[in-house]
């Protein structure tokens, strides 16, 4: 085709104004946005996330957060951010720097954790801040009288964001478990005896996801009926050098930045969508490497990893002498 228009990396951007900053618990704050142009937001599906751009000095931080507002109300979007004091600084920036009236940019919704519309019943398992995608899923299912129930684990009642609201609105569908009181979600008994056609969804710490998947497998659940979402934040690591062949640049990836962020810092328009190792969009071919990859994504399969020919720069790193990428 003539003059193909190359897409810029990432989903379509939306200019927004922060309309409210609402503390929810000691650690969790809700940020509400309206569109700067005054229009309604695009419709979205429960489980979708948006990537929020944060202008932090001379650095642009791009963090994905689940949309947790009601999908039937498009006058605003909302996210809830847990402050990670040992994190890379994005959540701390949101908590300390963002105030009502601020102009920000977010992306159009992207859903890597959608409802399976074939399900006869949806059973949700949330751990901590993993509650957020389920709030939007519940909103969407309530609109169509969908069959769902939620099992929500938090440390204490004070830490359980939105638990009071959920228990009040849906007293028969919502169950909350406090680990501080030694109460765990009884996964095995909950997953046993569900009607045929039930789909299970889990969002939260890696341990909960793994435990639920293992328990479901042990009980004979098909993999296709178990859905999970774990946003990986890029982990810090030793700095390393990378040669970007197409861009003709050499870049040093710093201790606290990801390979993707280092490329972006150097002005390389590298593709991405989720920035959490799930979507596969940033997959990059390795031209040559002398060293070891630290693969942290959920995308590459064992063969890809064994080949040494692929890396997901949003979350994965490298230790060695030389790394050349086809980017």
């Amino acid at each position: 085709m003539s003059a193909p228009q190359k897409a810029k990396a990432g989903a379509e951007k939306i200019a927004v104004t922060v309309s409210a900053v609402v503390p929810v618990t000691e650690y969790v704050t809700r940020f509400e946005f309206t569109r700067t142009d005054g229009a309604d937001f695009p419709p979205f599906s429960g489980g979708a996330h948006t990537v929020v751009s944060m202008e932090d000095g001379d650095r642009t931080r791009l963090n994905p957060y689940s949309l947790m507002s009601d999908p039937t109300d498009l006058s605003h979007y909302a996210i809830s951010v847990r402050r990670e004091d040992n994190g890379r600084g994005g959540s701390a920036f949101m908590h300390s720097q963002v105030a009502p009236g601020d102009a920000m940019t977010i992306t159009c919704p992207v859903n890597l954790f959608g409802l399976d519309w074939r399900a006869k019943k949806h059973i949700f398992f949330a751990g901590g801040i993993g509650i957020t995608p389920f709030l939007a899923m519940i909103g969407q299912l309530e609109q169509t009288n969908g069959n769902w129930e939620l099992h929500y684990a938090a440390r204490t009642a004070e830490n359980a964001a939105y638990a009071d609201m959920l228990l009040e609105k849906f007293p028969t569908k919502v169950h909350v478990y406090y680990s501080g009181q030694g109460v765990r979600i009884p996964l095995e008994s909950l997953l046993t005896g569900q009607p045929l056609g039930t789909h299970a969804y889990v969002c939260g710490p890696a341990g909960l996801i793994e435990l639920l998947r293992d328990t479901a497998k042990g009980l004979g659940w098909p993999d296709s009926n178990v859905h999970s979402e774990e946003f990986l934040a890029p982990a810090p690591g030793a700095p390393f050098e990378v040669r970007l062949c197409k861009s003709d640049k050499s870049v040093t990836v710093g201790e606290h930045e990801s390979l993707l962020e280092a490329m972006e810092r150097e002005g390389v328009d590298a593709p991405f969508l989720c920035r959490g190792g799930s979507c596969g969009q940033c997959e990059t071919n390795v031209v040559s490497a002398d060293g070891d990859f630290i693969h942290r994504d959920h995308w590459l399969d064992d063969d890809d990893r064994a080949s040494g020919k692929k890396i997901m720069p949003c979350v994965s790193r490298f230790i060695g002498t030389t790394l050349e990428l086809d980017r």
């Binding site: 003539s2 003059a3 695009p42 419709p43 999908p71 519309w117």
Partner: protein
Amino acid sequence: MTIQFNDETFRDDYSFHNSEWAIKRFPFPFHEDSYMYAMNAEQHRGGPEGSVYENRFDVDEHYVSEMQDRAKVLADDPLRCQSLPHMTLAGWDLLELIMVSKSEDYPDLFELHRDGDQWRWVNKPLGIDDTFTFLDESTLPYGPMEYITRQSQGDFALLDQRENNLWMDAGMITTQADWSLDFDIGMNFFEWHAPVPMANEMGIFKRALKFLLNIPQGSPGRRLNWTMTVNPLLDTSPENYHKWGIQKTTLTPDNIGAKQHLRVELQTFYRLPRSNALAFPIRCYLCSFQDLMTMPKWGRRLHRVVRDLPEELATYKGFIDNRPMMIDYLSKFDDGLPTSPGIFPEPETEPPLKT
């Protein structure tokens, strides 16, 4: 511009015809003098004024007649339109996408008035003025996908996305290049593409699937695909192969210019917001060889592409037997001059045929 709708048929007497305007904007699918499979997708965000790329859903002079042909196909074979039970929400998504796009892009032809979930849809070319409740199927005469695709040119597949794959779980398929929704319904991306030669070995489908899975909301894509059709038939379905397949044997050196049509699909891809399904509209454009030859660039190029196409592809696209006759005809329009890059005909700058 105001569109003059043709009164024409795609069967029996084949009165289908392209105006000069329609020929000039025909989406010629070859950007260079040869062809091989490629995903070749680009963003679907408008294009040159008057081109088929300009609007999200192109409406042209064939609109009303194409919709009449679709109604006939459906009356004979209701299974051309199917939607598995979990795809109703995707159908509403598609209805919203088409209604919003057409009312914005063609305000003289289509109107959408929304008051909460009370919607009024006015389709002037087809004489429709309906009021309904969004997301309430009981307020429409058909399911939402069938309702809106009876009013939209081109086929529509709605693909559910799950397990890192796409599933052909709903569609309105009456203008297809020899594939069957009734056969493919419920299949995944690799299953429904299994008959295509060479592409799988080339790794095309794995890459194409990855691209499609990651089409984000708000960033639609498009590509062109093509085949050959004898007579301007919209419905070249496997179900009716006994009716149209035989027509391929009626081609003669005298009638080939009028009878042989290049069939081009403008395929677009949209992420649907509420269902997270993928809409895959497949819009069919037909142009006779003799009309294509009015553009010197296309004459030169089509000859070279057809002549040099690998045998597997000519077989798969169903014209291997007629290829020698096609090359004979087309060679008269190829004087060996170079062609300019890109698909557009450039009639002002491309040199006329040397005789």
